[in-house]
């Protein structure tokens, strides 16, 4: 997976595989190390799926508890974080599905992107980036989930088309079609902003 937490060196991967093996065997301290390693990127992803802060924390907790339960069956055919991310994504979808239809995403989108640290550029750039982040968050919040989720998975989370399509249980052509429609819808909502920032 190319999601933010997916970038590791071969040495780190070997270390992770050992931690996962120990955790699968019941070693809680190994599992706690995995929690400390992956809770923050998982939380960030959950926020971007549209959960508010409290929901994202609850879902992160639930995700790790489910992972602890299922780890003995995890065969390490994929990276641990890829497996964990899938559990988290499914939990987030369940949580979002329980919300009333109206307002499912708007508030969540509002600060899901705004509530992040950046690399601290100059004041003018910072203000511009902040404006963009807020505009993006608002626009994402206005998209229906079937268009928003493909954009979040592919463009924000950085999953490959294959990974994102698989997560949504869609064929790649159907996924690409939704992704394009989502991007075009976002573009429509952000035209004034995009027009002023075109190179």
């Amino acid at each position: 997976m190319t999601a933010p937490a997916g970038e590791t060196t071969p040495g780190e991967e070997r270390g992770e595989a050992e931690l996962v093996r120990r955790a699968a065997d019941g070693d809680m301290s190994a599992f706690e190390e995995l929690v400390m390693r992956y809770a923050d990127p998982l939380f960030a992803s959950l926020r971007r799926f549209g959960l508010d802060e409290a929901e994202a924390q609850e879902v992160a907790q639930e995700t790790f508890l489910r992972a602890w339960r299922a780890l003995p069956r995890f065969e390490q055919r994929s990276r641990f974080y890829t497996w964990l991310y899938r559990i988290g994504f499914n939990e987030a979808q369940r949580r979002l599905a329980r919300r009333p239809a109206a307002g499912v995403t708007v508030t969540a989108g509002e600060d899901a992107l705004a509530d992040v640290a950046d690399a601290r550029p100059g004041p003018a750039e910072e203000a511009e980036q902040e404006d963009l982040r807020r505009a993006l968050a608002r626009a994402l919040g206005q998209l229906p989930p079937d268009l928003r989720v493909p954009v979040v998975l592919r463009d924000i989370e950085g999953l490959s088309t294959q990974e994102a399509a698989s997560l949504l249980e869609l064929g790649e052509p159907a996924f690409k079609s939704r992704l394009h429609r989502g991007r075009m819808a976002l573009r429509g909502l952000l035209i004034p902003w995009l027009a002023t920032t075109e190179p």
Binding site: G26, A117, M184, P199
Partner: protein, 95 residues
């Protein structure tokens, strides 16, 4: 209008419908070479499609930038504290 001029007009209108529908595939590198050339040729002579591609490129870049940012408030410690006492109670699946 000459025949080549009319053919060019037909091709332009056909590509003007085709390019927006394939803009994401173009930007994601998913098009075959002859289709890439088709997008390049048309956007070279169509300001509207050029603007569309440019704005989508900016949008995708902004979305990817948002994904690279770290959460402002780390929650790992809080998540760990909340589940630490509960791990013992979770029944574990069989291998």
């Amino acid at each position: 209008m000459s025949i080549p001029g009319r053919l060019h007009g037909l091709r332009f209108r056909r590509d003007h419908r085709w390019v927006p529908a394939h803009a994401s595939a173009y930007l994601d590198g998913d098009l075959a070479e002859h289709d890439r050339r088709r997008v390049k040729r048309h956007s070279g002579e169509c300001a509207e499609c050029r603007a569309l591609l440019s704005s989508l490129r900016v949008l995708i870049g902004a979305l990817r930038g948002a994904g690279a940012q770290a959460p402002a408030q780390p929650v790992a410690g809080a998540v760990l504290a909340s589940i630490r006492g509960r791990l013992d109670e979770v029944p574990r699946d069989r291998p």
